[in-house]
Subunit: 503 residues, 2 copies
C-alpha cells in the first residue's frame, strides 16, 4: 500500500517510514511472517543485525530491538558464536512444515507450550483428526475421569432443560449466580474475600489475560511492556505478544520473582505465579509479596496473578492470593483463575478478579466484544459449584495426585545424578540433574531426544529459562502427574527410568 518500502534480497523485510508503526515492530512483524511462511526455517540464521540495518537503512539498534522482541517471543534464539537463529524448537511444533514454499496453514507460529492448566496443549486438529489424548507424562493435564459424577450430569441436564437459560444471552461480565459462586470459591479455597461484582467470567486464563492487556493497551495508548518470570511459562508469552505487548524477562528463583531486582519506570504489567511458581513450585514469601505490591503501586504497574493450580495442594496451608493483600478499590492486582485443572479443561471456563479501578477499564472492552462463555455452560457450572461437588472432587483428586507423586519418587529412586524436587502441590513434578552444569545440560538434551520418539510428553526443565545466558538455568525434566490412565502413567515412568539409567 505504500510506495516507500525497501526489500532485503532473500528475506521479504519491508519497512514503511510513513507508517505509524515503530520500525522495530515492522521488522519483527516481517520476520515473524517469514518464519511462519517457512521462508527461513528453524535452526537457520537470520541476517546479522549490522547487515540487515545497513540494507534497510536504519540504525542498528532498531534491528537489535526487533530481534530482542522475537527472542523473547520464542521465534528467535541467540546462539553463542553463531549469531541469531530461528528458534530450533519451532520445528518440533510444526510437523506439517514440509516441502514447498508459501504459507503453510497448519503451522503454528509460536511453539505452543503445555499450559500448566492444560489450556495450551495443541491437539493435531489441522487435519481434522479427533482431539488427541495428551502423552502420559505431559505436564498440565488433570485427571478427569472422576469429573462425570451425578452432580455434573444433573447440573448440565438442568441447564439444558431450562427455557430460561435457552432464552438468556450470557451477560458480558458473566452470569450473576456464577459470579457469586466464584466469589464464594475464592473466599473458601483461596482466602480471598471479595464481592461478586469484582469477578468476571472468562473462557480461561489466556482469555482473561488478553482482555486485561487489551483494556490496558487502549488506556496507556502505547505498546505495553509486560514482565514475565524467568524461569516461567512460554505459553502465556504467546498470548502477551498477540495482544501487541512486548515481553521483558524478570529473574525468578525457586521461591518466585526476585523482588529485589525489579526495574523502575519501564513496565506496564507483570505476570506472576506467587502461590506456586512454575516450574519450580515455590511460594512467594510474604516479605517479597509486600515488596512487589509496593513496587507496583509506586510504578503504576498492574500485577497479573496467574493462580493456575493453587487449590491442588497436598501439604501445608497455602498463602492466600496476592490479590487478598491488595485493595479492592484502588488495587493493582488482577487475579486470573481457571477451572481447567480443578475440574477439566473441557469447560473452557475461568475467571478474572479485579479491583474496581481496573474493572472500570476492563468492563467496557468486555461489553463491546461480548462474553465468550455460553450461558448453558455458566448455568451448569454455577449449579456444579453450588452443589459443593468441586470441593469433594478436589479432595478425591488430591489423593490420586499424591499416589502418582509417590510413584514418581519410587520409580526414579536411586537414579544417578537425578533427584525429584520436593513439591507441595500441583500437577507436575520436577526432576533435577546434578553434577557438572555443562554435562547436566547435555544429559537433558539427550534424555529429551530419547524420550521424543516414545511420545512420553517429558519436557526439558531448561526450556523454561528464557535468559540466553543458559548458565542461569537448571537442567532436568518436567513431567505431569495427571492424565487418566494409571497403567500408561506407570509404564511411561518405567521407560523414563530406563532412559535415565542409559544416558
Amino acid at each position: 500500500m505504500s510506495a516507500r518500502t525497501r526489500a532485503v534480497s532473500g528475506l521479504p523485510v519491508h519497512i514503511d517510514r510513513s507508517s505509524s508503526s515503530p520500525l522495530p515492530v515492522q521488522i519483527a512483524a516481517a520476520l515473524r511472517e517469514a518464519i511462519d511462511a517457512s521462508l527461513i526455517r528453524p535452526g537457520e540464521a537470520v541476517p546479522a543485525t549490522r547487515d540487515l540495518s545497513r540494507r534497510l537503512g536504519v540504525a542498528r539498534g532498531v534491528v537489535v530491538a526487533a530481534y530482542e522482541q522475537l527472542i523473547a517471543e520464542g521465534y528467535l534464539a541467540a546462539a553463542q558464536g553463531r549469531g541469531t537463529l530461528v528458534h530450533p524448537d519451532l520445528a518440533r511444533t510444526s510437523p506439517g512444515a514440509g516441502a514447498g514454499a508459501g504459507v503453510d496453514p497448519a503451522r503454528p507460529a509460536i511453539p505452543v507450550d503445555a499450559r500448566p492448566d492444560g489450556e495450551g496443549r495443541a491437539p493435531t486438529d489441522e487435519s481434522l483428526l479427533g482431539a488427541e489424548r495428551p502423552a502420559p507424562l505431559a505436564p498440565g493435564a488433570p485427571i478427569t475421569e472422576g469429573v462425570v459424577s451425578s452432580a455434573w450430569r444433573s447440573a448440565w441436564r438442568e441447564a439444558a432443560a431450562s427455557l430460561e437459560v435457552a432464552a438468556t444471552v450470557a451477560p458480558p461480565l458473566g452470569d450473576p449466580s456464577l459470579r457469586r459462586e466464584i466469589a464464594e470459591h475464592l473466599r473458601r479455597m483461596r482466602g480471598t474475600p471479595r464481592a461478586a461484582a469484582d469477578v468476571l467470567v472468562t473462557a480461561g486464563t489466556r482469555d482473561g489475560l488478553w482482555l486485561l492487556l487489551t483494556a490496558l493497551g487502549a488506556t496507556r495508548g502505547r505498546t505495553l511492556a509486560v514482565g514475565v518470570e524467568d524461569p516461567g511459562l512460554p505459553s502465556l508469552r504467546g498470548a502477551v505478544s498477540r495482544a501487541g505487548a512486548s515481553i521483558i524477562a524478570l529473574p525468578a528463583d525457586a521461591l518466585g520473582l526476585d523482588t529485589a531486582r525489579l526495574p523502575d519506570g519501564m513496565l506496564d504489567a507483570v505476570i506472576v505465579t506467587p502461590s506456586h511458581q512454575y516450574p519450580l513450585g515455590g511460594s512467594l514469601p510474604l516479605a517479597r509479596r509486600r515488596e512487589l505490591l509496593a513496587w507496583a503501586h509506586r510504578n503504576g504497574v498492574v500485577i497479573i496473578e496467574d493462580d493456575f493450580d493453587s487449590e491442588l495442594r497436598y501439604t501445608g496451608t497455602p498463602l492466600p492470593t496476592l490479590a487478598a493483600l491488595d485493595d479492592a478499590e484502588r488495587g493493582v492486582v488482577v487475579l486470573l483463575g481457571t477451572f481447567s485443572r480443578t475440574i477439566t479443561p473441557a469447560l473452557s471456563a475461568g475467571y478474572l478478579l479485579a479491583p474496581a479501578g481496573l474493572r472500570a477499564l476492563i468492563e467496557p472492552v468486555r461489553r463491546d466484544l461480548g462474553g465468550p462463555v455460553s450461558s448453558v455452560v455458566q448455568s451448569a457450572l454455577a449449579a456444579y459449584l453450588a452443589s459443593g461437588e468441586l470441593r469433594r472432587h478436589t479432595v478425591r483428586m488430591l489423593r490420586r495426585y499424591a499416589v502418582r507423586r509417590d510413584l514418581v519418587s519410587e520409580r526414579l529412586a536411586g537414579a544417578e545424578r537425578a533427584r525429584v524436587r520436593p513439591m507441595d502441590g500441583g500437577l507436575h513434578a520436577v526432576i533435577e540433574f546434578s553434577g557438572d552444569p555443562e554435562r547436566a545440560r547435555r544429559r537433558e538434551a539427550d534424555v529429551i531426544a530419547e524420550a521424543e520418539p516414545m511420545r512420553l510428553g517429558v519436557q526439558a526443565l531448561g526450556r523454561y529459562w528464557q535468559r540466553t545466558d543458559r548458565d542461569a538455568g537448571m537442567a532436568g525434566l518436567v513431567i505431569g502427574v495427571g492424565g487418566d490412565d494409571d497403567a500408561a502413567f506407570d509404564a511411561a515412568l518405567r521407560e523414563l527410568r530406563g532412559i535415565l539409567d542409559r544416558v
Copy 2:
C-alpha cells in the same frame, strides 16, 4: 510515566511525543477516558479543534483526526452550528452515570447496540441482577421457546455424560465434528460448498471479527482501516475499535454497499451484509458482488461478510454467500456466521469461514490465545446439527416470524405517514416515515421519546446512519419480531400504534 506531557486545563488530555503511539490516537484515548469517567457528559461540547490544538501545541489536523475517529466510534457527534459534542445517545446506555466525579465501573464506554443476532444486548449485569428479558420490540432477539426440544436435551445429555468429552481440551480451531457439521450447514443452507478445514469455531460474530482483525493487524504492522456500511450496525463498530482499528463509513443504499463509490488504496478490510443489509434488508445484486470482489482483490482488502441471519428468509431463494463466489485458496472473503439467531444467543457459538491464505494468518493467533468455546458446547452443538434438528427448528420458526410480521402490518395498517417496508427475511421490521424529511426526523425523535418510558425496545431508524450529514438518512423505526411472548408482542405493537397516531 513520561515527563513530556502537557495537560489541557479542565480536560485531562495529555500527549507524549516520545511515545510510539500517534498523536491522534493519544488524544482520542484521552478523550475516551474522560468521557468514560464522566468528566465530560453526553450532550456537552468538547473544545473546538482550534483551541485544543493550540493548547496542546499540535497541528489542528491532529485534533481533527482524533475527533473524526471518535465520531466514527459513536463517542462524539458533530452538531450543526454547535461544534462537536459528546454523543447524546451515550446517556441512554449509562443509567448508572450519576453524581460524583471519578470512574464509574458500571458505565459502558460505547453505546452497546442491539446486535441483530442478539449478541450485543447489554443486560443490566452491573448490579448482579439476573439477566433481563429483552424489551418486546427490541430488534435482534429470536424466538427461543422452541429450542428446548428432545434433540436439544439429548445432545447436551450425551455431551455431559461422555468421559471422552470431559477429558478433551477443545482444539483451538474447533471440534473436528462440529467443523464438519458447520461446513455441511453452509453447503445446504447457504449454497457455500467448502471444506471443513476452512471453518473455525468462534464464540460468535464479534469473537470472529476480533480474531481476524488481530491477525490482520499483526501482519500489516499498522493501525488497520476498516470500512463499514452506512447505514449499518453500530455494535460491530465497537468491536472494530477495540481491536485497535479505525473506522471509515462507506455509503450504502437499500440494496447494500454502493460499490461504485469504493475508495482505492486506503482500506485494509470492509464489513458487509450482502445477503441482508442491515437495517434496510436488501440483498446485494450479483453485479455489485463482482465489483466488490474485484475491488478487494485489486486493493488487498479483506471482505468480512457478516452473514448474521440469511437462513431466516420467508420469500424467494437467497443468493449464496459472497464467500461462495470467491476462491477457497487465494480468496479475500471471510464469512462470519452465528447460531445466535437460528438457535439461541445462549449458545455463544458461531463460526468463521476463511480461504487458506487468510487462515494462515488467523490460525496462529487462535492457537496462541486458545479457542473460547467449551468442548461440551461443541460436542452438543455437533450432535444437534447432525440430528437435523436445526433445519426442522428453522422451518417452524419461519412460520412464527411470518405470523409476527403479518401482525406488524395489520396493527400498523393505515397509520399516517408510516409504512412497513417489505422485508424478505430476518428478525426485524422497518417502519419508514414519509413526508417532509425534517418533520419525519422530528417525529422519529418524538416517537422514541414516548416509547422509551414504556420500554418497548423500539429503535430510531436514523441512528443506523453514521454520516453527520443527516439528510442522507431515513427517518422511521426498527422493531424486532422475535421474543418469546406473543401476547407481550401484540400489546407492544398496539401501544406503538397508539404513539404513532398521537405524534
